[in-house]
Amino acid sequence: EDQVTQSPEALRLQEGESSSLNCSYTVSGLRGLFWYRQDPGKGPEFLFTLYSAGEEKEKERLKATLTKKESFLHITAPKPEDSATYLCAVPYSGGSNYKLTFGKGTLLTVNP
């Protein structure tokens, strides 16, 4: 059974204090790993897809990396507007069904 575990559950940073969020997964035949951002009362907003170990993607202050067992979301010099819940997910490993298995998320709070 596919499993996704995120840590920490919650992270509080000061503005400008860089850190990383972790997403570890157990899935046979990884067909990608997705990062989403979710603001309160809204649906998840797509950030990145990573497909193979060693791959990295960047967007503004965020950089996502992937190894064979985990992914990291690095946040460099965060700002208060980066406060949100960050979710990672992996797609089902069979056929054309890409249903996602999500981790429970990391609630990031960035204080000014």
């Binding site: 990608g32 997705f34 809204k42 649906g43 797509f46 054309s96 069904n97 249903k99 996602l100 298995t101």
Partner: protein, 114 residues
């Protein structure tokens, strides 16, 4: 372009009543997914549509839950005889696998069963 839309944004109902939740996917997306997000739980898969057919209904929690999709577009999730444990945010996502496997989510419908 227009994203995924869902209606209503909020629904309050009484235990035992039926509810219908609607999802309008991104135009041209062949795949449509329903998920449920409960307090303290992660997002849970409910059902997957490819076109108008639902090859995977494995996440529907009981036979009170059903969904349909018409015209390869709009989908409706119906919950019959609602229970308090059905209270959650119901999220819809669409995508175009296998070439475009990213799923784009709507804003969700918050369902409260009193």
């Amino acid at each position: 372009g227009a994203g995924v839309s869902q209606s209503p944004s909020n629904k309050v109902t009484e235990k035992g009543k039926d509810v219908e939740l609607r999802c309008d996917p991104i135009s041209g997306h062949t795949a449509l997914y329903w998920y449920r997000q409960s307090l303290g739980q992660g997002l849970e898969f409910l059902i997957y549509f490819q076109g108008n057919s639902a090859p995977d209904k494995s996440g529907l929690p009981s036979d009170r839950f059903s969904a349909e999709r018409t015209g390869g577009s709009v989908s409706t999730l119906t919950i019959q005889r609602t229970q308090q444990e059905d209270s959650a945010v119901y999220l819809c996502a669409s995508g175009s696998p296998p070439g475009g496997d990213t799923q784009y989510f709507g804003p969700g419908t918050r369902l409260t069963v009193l």
